[in-house]
Amino acid sequence: MESISTIGDAIAAARPAYDELAIFAEDVEDEWSYINDLALAWADRMDAVADARGKEPAAAGVAEAVSALVAEAAAIDDPHRAIDWLSTFPQVLLVAIGEQP
């Protein structure tokens, strides 16, 4: 993982894991549309924070938080749980960087 010194770095480091989570969740075919709408809605929120605060320095602990979050997402082995984490993941990321989800 690239070093994280700003809010923008933190979001950029987390996004690939989120995208992977969405791809894995698509194994639940009945929820394909919901999964994509959900992922898009949260991606928009993360992008908006990156646009607004991307250059701000990341607070202490943020780099470790992103690393732990990415590892947790990668460990998810059930697509149904992945759907739930499409909502949980951005909430955890956003509170770690001092944002309301």
Binding site: Y34, A60, E72, V95
Partner: protein
């Protein structure tokens, strides 16, 4: 409009054992006084893969990081919630799913009891109740929580995540509200979801079942149940 205990079927008997689990009551009590970030912590841990505390402590720097309070009530609640959430996560997959559902119900009941003092008293808050209307066939599924206060009745369904929002639930809640109105009664229909509003709105956008008059309570707005 009248309220009635649901007849316990086999599923309800098994689920009653989950609802009575002391871990459910303990976690609900902690969540009732928790901040939004602490509630997100609980949600993440209870649906996560890791059951070691250090992973979660790292993931929530505003609760456990170098700039977080090192002691005091808030830190104590964060530690206690983390421990309780890990206990839930350590249950088998099916059991922990049931525990999470029971937990949202218990939390909802607890928060509404805090508000109910001026509206019929705590005894007006009930679980697993049906609502009967003249000339209308009773719904099969009881409401998770009801507030049975004259003139200010509420019917509430509880969900762990946004994905739990479905047409059956929305129809049942809206039907109850409209049947009450037909009898000149006021019944507020609510769905409580232990998930972010953004996720719930995405889910609701895909639903054609009526829901404009159903109150949505999410992680961000749980305290409204208590009138805060």
């Amino acid at each position: 409009m009248r309220f009635q205990d649901a007849s316990p079927d086999a599923r309800a008997v098994v689920y009653a054992g989950i609802q009575a689990d002391p871990l459910v009551a303990r976690a609900a009590a902690l969540l009732a006084d928790a901040t939004q970030t602490q509630r997100i912590l609980a949600r993440a841990v209870m649906n996560g893969m890791s059951t070691g505390p250090t992973v979660w402590q790292a993931m929530f720097p505003t609760l456990f990081g170098p700039d977080a309070p090192s002691d005091g009530d808030e830190r104590g609640r964060s530690e206690a919630l983390l421990a309780a959430s890990i206990q839930v996560a350590e249950r088998g997959e099916q059991i922990r799913s049931q525990v999470r559902g029971a937990l949202v119900e218990a939390l909802t009941e607890l928060l509404i009891r805090r508000r109910a003092g001026s509206r019929g008293g705590p005894s007006a808050v009930r679980r697993e109740r049906r609502i009967l209307f003249d000339g209308v066939r009773a719904e099969i599924h009881p409401y998770d929580v009801t507030l049975e206060a004259p003139g200010a009745a509420e019917a509430i369904d509880c969900k762990w995540g946004a994905r739990g929002i479905n047409a059956d639930v929305l129809h049942q809640l809206d039907d109850a509200r409209t049947h009450a109105a037909d009898e000149d009664e006021v019944l507020t229909a609510s769905i409580v979801v232990f998930d972010a509003e953004r996720s719930c709105r995405v889910r609701l956008e895909r639903q054609t079942a009526p829901h404009d008059e159903t109150r949505l309570i999410t992680l961000e707005t749980l305290d409204r149940l208590a009138g805060r």
